[in-house]
C-alpha cells in the first residue's frame, strides 16, 4: 500500500454491466424507468466481492471494519446513485477509497515500540491466500491492481482491462507479470 494512497484507483466505466441483479427485469414491470434495486439486493450481490477485495488489500483483520465503513458510506449515498450505474464498480470504488483512508490513518497512528503490528494473528483462518496477498502488497501498483481486480474482485479480463484503462492484452500481461514476480518473491 505504500505510495498507493496518492494514486487511488479510478474506475473507467467498464464496457459492460457487471453483476447486473437478476430482478432488474422484475423492476421494469413495476415502472417503465429502471430503478435502483433494494439496497439489500445490492448488499447481497456485492458483499462477497467487496470483502475479498478488502481482505486482499489490507488483510483479514482490518477488512471487517472497513467492510462496515464501505457499506455505511454506500447506504448514505445510495438514493443519489444513477440507476444505470455499474453497481459492482461503484461498490469497489468506495471499498478502495475506504481502504486507502484506513491505511493512511494506520500509518499516522503512533505505535508503542513493544507492539509488533504487522505480524499476522493466527486465528485459525486459512493463511495461504493471506500470505500471497501480503506479498502482493509489495508489487508495483500497476501489477497489484491488476491482481486485485482479476483475483480478489474476480473480474473477467475484459473488465480488468476496463478498470485499468488498458487493452485486454495489456491487462493479461500485467496479471501474468504480477504472478511471475510473486513466484520470485515467495520462492
Amino acid at each position: 500500500m505504500n505510495g498507493r494512497a496518492d494514486a487511488p484507483l479510478i474506475w473507467r466505466r467498464p464496457t459492460r454491466i457487471l453483476g447486473c441483479p437478476a430482478h432488474i427485469s422484475a423492476m421494469r414491470s413495476v415502472s417503465q424507468t429502471v430503478s435502483l434495486p433494494p439496497f439489500q439486493a445490492f448488499l447481497d450481490a456485492q458483499r462477497e466481492t467487496v470483502f475479498r477485495y478488502l481482505v486482499a488489500m489490507i488483510g483479514p483483520n482490518d477488512a471487517e471494519d472497513v467492510f462496515q465503513e464501505t457499506f455505511i458510506s454506500a447506504l448514505r449515498a445510495y438514493p443519489r446513485l444513477r440507476p444505470d450505474s455499474n453497481l459492482r464498480a461503484w461498490a469497489l470504488t468506495i471499498a478502495n477509497r475506504k481502504a486507502i483512508d484506513f491505511v493512511r490513518s494506520r500509518n499516522r497512528r503512533p505505535l508503542p515500540v513493544e507492539e509488533v503490528p504487522e505480524v499476522p494473528v493466527h486465528d485459525g483462518r486459512p493463511s495461504e491466500s493471506g500470505d500471497v496477498w501480503a506479498a502482493a502488497r509489495d508489487l508495483p501498483a500497476s501489477q497489484r491492481e491488476a491482481l486485485l481486480y482479476r483475483f480478489a474482485a474476480d473480474l473477467p479480463y475484459s473488465d480488468v482491462a476496463a478498470a485499468l484503462g488498458t487493452s485486454e492484452e495489456a491487462a493479461r500481461q500485467r496479471v501474468s507479470e504480477g504472478i511471475r514476480q510473486l513466484r520470485k518473491a515467495m520462492a
Binding site: 437478476a22 430482478h23 422484475a26 423492476m27 414491470s29 413495476v30 415502472s31 430503478s35 435502483l36 434495486p37 433494494p38 439496497f39 439489500q40 439486493a41 448488499l43 447481497d44 458483499r47 462477497e48 467487496v50 470483502f51 475479498r52 481482505v55 486482499a56 483479514p60 477488512a63 471487517e64 467492510f67 462496515q68 457499506f71 455505511i72 447506504l75 448514505r76 445510495y78 438514493p79 483462518r125 486459512p126 495461504e128 491466500s129 493471506g130 500470505d131 500471497v132 496477498w133 502482493a136 491482481l147 483475483f151 480478489a152 474476480d154 501474468s176 504472478i179 511471475r180 510473486l182 513466484r183 515467495m186
Partner: protein
Amino acid sequence: MRDIEKALALQPPGDSSALAERFAARAAEEGLIDIAYTVEDSPVGPLLLAGTKRGLVELGYEGEAELDSYLSRLAAKVSPRVLEAPARLDPVRRELDEYFSGKRTEFDVPLDWSLTRGFTQRVLRATAKIPYGHVSTYREMASKAGNERAVRAAGNALGANPIPIVVPCHRILRTGGSLGGYGGGLPRKEFLLRLEGALES
C-alpha cells in the same frame, strides 16, 4: 504459475454474511434504513412485513417469487434504502401473533399509507374502521370514499390493499353476501373471516 493463481483466488477467510447482518444493525443505529423488512410465518403462510419510520407500509402474502417484486416496488416507490432488519417490525409481529391466536381484535401499530393515493386510500381508510367480526360491502366502501357508484373501483382499491389483515379488506363481501374476491386468494379470506367468527365454521 497455477499454485500462485490458486492461492490468490482462494475464498476469503471469514464469512461476509455475518458481516452483512452486523451491518444491518449498524445501519439501523445510524438511522439509515428507510424501509426495514422481515418475513414472518403465520397460519396463512409467510408474510412479508415492511416498515418505514412512520409505520407499517406493506404486508405481503409471500411466495418466494414475490419477495423480490415486493421489495423492488418499495425501492422504486418509497426509497431504495431497503434492508432486512427485523427489529423495527417487532410490534407488528407481536400484534399479528395475538390476532392469530384470537387475543387481539384491533391493531394499534401505526400505518404508513405512502403506497396508496386518492380514492384508493379513502376506500382503505374506511375499510380500516370496520370492526373485528363485522363485514361490509364494496358498495358501502365506495360510498364512504365519496362515490357510491364506483363499486368496481372500490373493488380494485381493495384488491390493491398494500396492508391486508391489518387493513381488513377480507371483511368486505358482495352485496348479496357472497365472498367476492381476495388478493391473497379466497381460502385466506375464508380463514380470516372464520377466525373472527364472521363466517360459520
